[in-house]
Amino acid sequence: MGESSIESPLDDVRSPLLKDLHPKVPLLSAPFAIQKNLSKHRYLLGNMVKRNLNQRYDKALLGYLWTLLEPALLALVYYVLFVIIADYEDQSYPMLILLGVIGWGLFARILNSTVSTLVSNAGMIKQSGFPLELYSASDSRTNLVISAISLLTVIPFMVYLNLQPSSHLWMLPVAMFMLYLSAWGVGLMVASANVVFPDVAHVFRFITRAGFFVSPIMWTYELLIERAGADSPYVDIAMLNPVVVPLTMMKHSVLGTIPDFATHHIVYAVAFPVVVYILGSMIFSATSRGVVKRL
């Protein structure tokens, strides 16, 4: 131990007990590796979700009530706008818009927060070595909780419209899970790129803003079919938007009806979240740790 220069410090052999600090995760197992990390750190994940919720509402006088109040006020505006001012015939229209706004809000918020997850958590990332997917997972789950609470505002509408909860309500959690997985998956795909080129976040902020209008929030899938005709190529183009099916499912789940989709549209809408999550987890696992030094 006496030498003070370091010409060849590693004259001994590598101990077999040492484990590679950055083991190569085979690409195909990345989707599972991420889930494994999340379940391993579920205590931390829970604490982070709690922190996010607190950060948002704790200081406000009305606290968590804001999760309800915000969409409720929005719904009131729609009600005034469409039912009272425009004398819209369909009394359920404001509720359908409200459902669209909640679903779209879930998708857009998860997408934007995941795209910039590495940049916005740079301070903590540089101080702690826990898996990077925890940051976006905790933000996404926070948004899932907020949206789920927001859904309570639909209840007064259901009472007003005399709608009974039907067995089709199963579509609601499924649709929200589809939105969650799609947004998180796409976000994971580009989160590392956003560190190198911060322009990515700007592009996605634009996409989520423009997306509001090309998604069935102010309009409905049935309206699209009615205007364009079921066989129109425009319908196929509009259905490339991965949120059309889940948002429509959300609306129908409350109305107690089954939406009438073409089979290939359903297949696409179900495959989209799965495929982008698989791709996203692969890209994120392979690249995220390497871009930390650029933060």
Binding site: M1, G2, E3, S4, S5, I6, S8, P9, L10, D12, R14, S15, L17, L18, K19, D20, L21, H22, H41, Y43, L44, N47, M48, K50, R51, N54, Q55, D58, K59, G123, M124, I125, K126, Q127, S128, G129, F130, R289, G290, V292, K293, R294
Partner: protein, 245 residues
Amino acid sequence: MNEQVLRLEDVELHFPRKEGALSILKRLVMGFFGKSERGPRSCGLSEINLTIQKGEIIGIIGRNGSGKSTLLRTIAGIYKPDSGWIGIDGQTSLLAGVGVGMNKDLTGRENIHLYGSMLGHERSYMDSMMEEIIQFSELQEFIDEPLRTYSSGMKARLGISVATAVKPDILLIDEVLGVGDPGFKKRSQQRIRDMMDDSNTVILVSHSFGLLKEICSRMIMMEKGKMKCIGTPDEVIGAYHEAEG
């Protein structure tokens, strides 16, 4: 006795410098024609070869920007080296900037859970340590108040109290020994030393040579991202003063 817990082989890490769009485009075009060149970068670490045995206490010194913290973060797995190999036997825990990740709107108690889980603890462990942590921090009467009502000294005390409840296999410390008022500082230094006795292996970055000389079994001096020298504390501190002139 010859039990390796950490080994770095030819570790290199470069920090890319910010580059304009035109420059990136130019490099892409050049790359297309087979003349690939690297973007601008600065050296973070290079030629790091190091083996640390179980039970060692390693002190790292060097001037600002010499790569001390970068080395510590690379060992903690935060930075991934561009090349080289790092092998580790056990769990590391990095104490740096006490209280990072604590939240001002959560209560002291909730922050103990949050910060503790960030340091890699399970709920059961944090539950069992809770009373001891609160006692050590001397914040009993404030513990259910939100952190924003704390003074900066109180925040630091809470942070240190949680951080020092850790018992990892390899403890990495980055200059956290000097927070709080003198009384607390003395107690926390004592606690960190106890912790060092409990943890098997400690690597710490510090500027307090007196402390390092007292506790380290070996020291490393960093310069411009390289290990300038490694040896006994006397040798390395001597070399540091020599280099400083």
